[in-house]
């Protein structure tokens, strides 16, 4: 077995945070990889929900987007964003929100919407989509991200108000 990658340690650490039988809204990338790992090891009855409305899927390949049918295989429910957000997240039945983020600060405020670079130029990222709702309503939130100073600031959004900041602590 070759050297273990940091991303593999992250995926395994993420999987171990999930318990069998939990309802998890899962984001694309390492959260989804960790979720499948949990399902195939200690958590076979875990329910995974994708924000776009696909639930309990058995992925047969690595997805490049949420709207990638390779991770929808054998899903038990095909609904939509409002169903996941309304009937699941806002109803309070989601145990874990498993997300990525652009920035997280020391109190767990998340920014997935925009950042300013050193020159002051604003860069928009495609969040938060359901990130705010999920982080606000899920009983636990797990975040996966690269460990960089600029991604772990004292306060998210720099010196300005950030509409998408949510609290997970």
């Amino acid at each position: 077995m070759t050297e273990v990658l940091a991303s593999e340690i992250m995926a395994a650490a993420g999987a171990r945070e999930l318990r069998d039988g939990e309802v998890v809204v899962v984001g694309l990338g390492l959260p989804q990889v960790a979720c499948v790992l949990a399902q195939r090891t200690h958590a076979p009855r875990l329910s995974a929900l994708l924000e776009i409305g696909v639930m309990n899927m058995s992925p047969i390949d690595t997805a490049v987007g949420l709207a990638d049918p390779r991770i929808w295989y054998r899903a038990t429910c095909w609904s939509g964003f409002l169903d996941v957000m309304g009937m699941n997240v806002h109803r309070g039945v989601v145990d874990v929100g498993f997300l990525g983020a652009l920035e997280i600060d020391r109190f767990g405020n998340i920014n997935t919407t925009l950042v300013k670079d050193d020159s002051g130029k604003v860069r928009y990222v495609n969040g938060s989509a359901g990130g705010n709702d999920i982080a606000s309503h899920a009983k636990r939130v797990i975040m996966i991200m690269r460990h960089e100073k600029r991604k772990l600031p004292e306060a998210v959004g720099g010196n300005w108000a950030c509409a998408a900041a949510v609290h997970i602590a």
């Binding site: 077995m1 273990v4 990658l5 940091a6 991303s7 593999e8 340690i9 992250m10 995926a11 395994a12 650490a13 993420g14 999987a15 171990r16 945070e17 990338g29 390492l30 990889v33 499948v36 790992l37 195939r40 090891t41 992925p59 690595t62 490049v64 997280i104 600060d105 020391r106 109190f107 767990g108 797990i142 975040m143 996966i144 991200m145 690269r146 460990h147 960089e148 100073k149 600029r150 991604k151 772990l152 600031p153 004292e154 997970i168 602590a169």
Partner: protein, 71 residues
């Protein structure tokens, strides 16, 4: 909070970020250096457990064989 260096949580009283475990090969000083806020560091910081052989096999052969996310 899971990063490529460590697992962090939030202190129950102060709600501020606290180191939970350090990944093997990651150094504590690098974690501190690459964190933009003062991180609570307990006296004992355990290593993050490595993936088991079976977890590595699943990750590499079944879940992400082309290394789209695991790279």
């Amino acid at each position: 909070m899971i990063t490529d260096m460590a697992v962090m949580g939030f202190d129950a009283n102060t709600h501020s970020a606290t180191l939970v475990s350090l990944h093997p090969l990651a150094r504590l000083e690098d974690v501190v250096e690459n964190t933009g806020f003062p991180l609570n560091i307990p006296r004992e910081v355990p290593p993050t457990p490595l993936p088991t052989q079976e977890e590595l096999r699943l990750l590499r052969e079944e879940i992400d064989p082309r290394g789209v996310y695991l790279r």
